[in-house]
Symmetry: C2
Subunit: 88 residues, 2 copies
Amino acid sequence: MDIADWRRKIDEVDEQLVRLLNERTKAALAIGELKKSAAMAIYEPGREKAVFEHVFAANPGPLPNELLQLIYERIIDVMRTLQAKDRD
Amino acid sequence: MDIADWRRKIDEVDEQLVRLLNERTKAALAIGELKKSAAMAIYEPGREKAVFEHVFAANPGPLPNELLQLIYERIIDVMRTLQAKDRD
């Protein structure tokens, strides 16, 4: 496979990633609504720790856990931004 | 659905995200190898622009493009780190 072939593969993977990131967003917004109704805090460090442990356990590699964590920190940060916006 | 139900949904989505992020990593490492053999630069701003355009076009929402971009900037940054490590 040449560079163009691998890039087509990446484009296909990206389409699935975008779909799943939107699925995750819908779930995060639903949780945000439930927390708003219950006057619960958006930030829950215990849940974040559980998310990292779950993705590390599910990680087959070659992506190392420390780099997977960097990606997940950004995903979680974005989801928290959306939940906070919804509370304004 | 209560918060625990939505979190189970997020955990399932995360398992698929981790699998796809590793698929993307394999493709990025393969491209890194091909570029190394051809003495090509790792950073190609034109390709990055194309990746953003592709994911924006594939984005059904509710995740806004500007937040999707934040996540993809981190993904691309991580992939570039791995390609550079492979070149050391």
